[in-house]
């Protein structure tokens, strides 16, 4: 059965002519500079090849030329909506490579900023879905209203709204004040109401259900074999969340659920994001209740002159898009010999063709939207 998955599905046209359409790289629905070479029979998709690399700047080579510290601001620019989780993935890999310890308060603050990032990413994504389906403007502005509040918090914490450059191996760059934590508490008291608002849009909207249910189904076995991760994988019913599997940071101290889908269609993938937003609020409440006092940076860590022993390490976290991993090889010098990003967005695109075959071209737009790609990370 498994070998049958590897054969690409072929959609046989009944009759008629085949038309080739190049969607992108400047198509408004491709969420960036992404292109799909689509072969159509009428409106039906027969073949689809993703083409990318328009934003390629060889991020990995740049990082191999600099010190370990110098790569942190570059990781902000991978998935530019989630700079906090990108920082975390990288510093986790360096901490594994060099065997560094992180103070407890820093671990809690990392959870807080990462979960806020997850919330604003998922909120933005649901806004984009409705935009892609023709609900022009209003839902997206709703999503961005909450996102703005979170970005304001990031700005007062780290100095930047999107390129936060906040984490360091061995801790964090700056501590959060008591006032900042109170502001977060005030904000998350409002978030459940906002999720309810969106849930009403998703659950009660007949047009949305007709278009997304049964569209772009991703079977469970194929999802595992094709290394799909994140909410996309869980929408296909696979219980795999790295926060639960690896317990990195202090995630083992919080109680939260991992939502799972049943059908693996576009609707399930969006509901996964919505349900994860609710769980995120739960984690935030617990983290803000338990956060201890103390330092946020291990004073023994040499940030500028870090020279890990020769060896290698792979560190991974659950980013809002999926498994974000960093693979580092050290040769004992001050800059990494090999620096590799495991980009969840790019790998989730492997099965884009399988999900789109046989669907109408208009559905390709929402299927691509449900993958949740950011081209800064796909192209690197």
């Amino acid at each position: 059965m498994r070998d049958a998955l590897l054969d690409r599905p072929v959609y046989e046209p009944e009759e008629g002519e085949i038309m080739e359409v190049s969607m992108g790289p400047h198509h408004p629905s491709t969420h960036g500079v992404f292109r799909m070479d689509v072969k159509l029979e009428g409106e039906r998709v027969m073949k689809l090849k993703p083409v990318f690399g328009y934003l390629h700047r060889n991020h990995e080579k740049i990082a191999e030329h600099g010190a370990y510290l110098a790569a942190i601001p570059y990781t902000d620019r991978l998935d530019y909506l989630c700079s906090m989780t990108n920082n975390w993935g990288y510093v986790l890999a360096v901490e594994k490579l060099a065997g560094l310890q992180v103070p407890e308060r820093a671990e809690y603050l990392r959870v807080i900023v990462a979960e806020l990032t997850r919330f604003q990413n998922h909120a933005g994504l649901i806004g984009f879905l409705l935009q892609d389906m023709g609900a022009s403007g209003t839902p997206l502005m709703y999503a961005f209203r909450e996102r703005e509040k979170i970005l304001d918090l990031f700005e007062s914490l780290s100095g930047a709204r999107m390129m936060c450059n906040y984490m360091r191996f061995g801790g964090l760059r700056v501590d959060a004040t008591k006032e900042w934590l109170d502001e977060v508490r005030a904000l998350i008291a409002l978030l459940p109401g906002f999720v309810d608002e969106f849930e009403a849009l998703l659950r009660a909207n007949e047009i949305l259900m007709a278009r997304t249910q049964g569209t772009g189904v991703l079977p469970r076995e194929l999802a595992i074999n094709a290394s799909v991760t994140g909410p996309m994988l869980r929408a296909s019913g696979v219980n795999y969340d790295i926060r639960k599997v690896d317990h990195y940071g202090v995630y083992d101290r919080f109680s939260f659920k991992v939502p799972l889908g049943e059908h693996g269609d576009v609707y399930d993938r969006y509901m996964m994001r919505l349900l994860e937003m609710r769980e995120t609020v739960k984690i935030l409440e617990q983290a803000l209740k338990d956060i201890p006092e103390g330092p946020v940076m291990d004073p023994k860590v040499r940030l500028r002159g870090l020279r890990p022993k020769a060896g290698e390490a792979y560190g991974r976290i659950e980013s809002p898009k999926g498994e974000l991993g960093f693979f580092l090889i050290s040769d004992g010098t001050g800059n990494p010999y090999r620096y590799r990003v495991r980009p969840p967005c790019m790998i989730n695109l492997t099965i884009l063709e399988d999900m789109c075959l046989g669907h109408n071209i208009a559905d390709v737009v929402i299927i691509l939207g449900s993958v949740d790609i950011v081209l800064g990370e796909v192209d690197r």
């Binding site: 998955l5 590897l6 490579l97 290394s227 991993g325």
Partner: protein
Amino acid sequence: MALPPVEQIKAQIEAGVPGASVTVILNGSPSAQHSLLLDPAHARAVAELLRDHSEWRLDYCTLVTGVDWPDTETSEKVKVRKFVKAADGTESEQEVDEVRKTKVPGYLEAVYHLFSMEKKHGQVVLRLRTGNRTDDTHVPSLTPVWRGAEFQEREAFDLYGIVFDGHPDLRRILMWDGFKDYPMRKDYVPPADEIPVIEVHS
């Protein structure tokens, strides 16, 4: 349930796949993520064994990456006896120091990180090495075993020049089709600033 230590995995692979030779490569960093070097001829069979093993079930290939290890030169000082011409023209046999250089050929490496979604454990690191960096850059593709390797193997081909035999669609993925060099190699020299001529492709 955790995975057994790498030595046990190696022993079970060698028992399960006749003729396969596996070398354990120890990792000196505190992460202690050791890896297994496979011989290319049996790599596909070993990968299938790892994926279908009833206790391990390594069904999830998360990361595929290329690594470049260039040719290295080791030099050592040796004493040799030589006829040395003195200033007045007479030759005499003397012991002199000479630096002898030996060249160690480099290779390209494909690294695979495996986890199990079913058993929720990991990780196992596999390595495949090419013969050299110039004309023998072939390794077997593991995309037929894990489809998740498809784009990442294409990327290793694009940026390192590792040719994955048996890959269903081995093309450049990030650089454009007409590009000639392999930018992630350690000896890559970027061209002078000029506007690249991009060939139009379908």
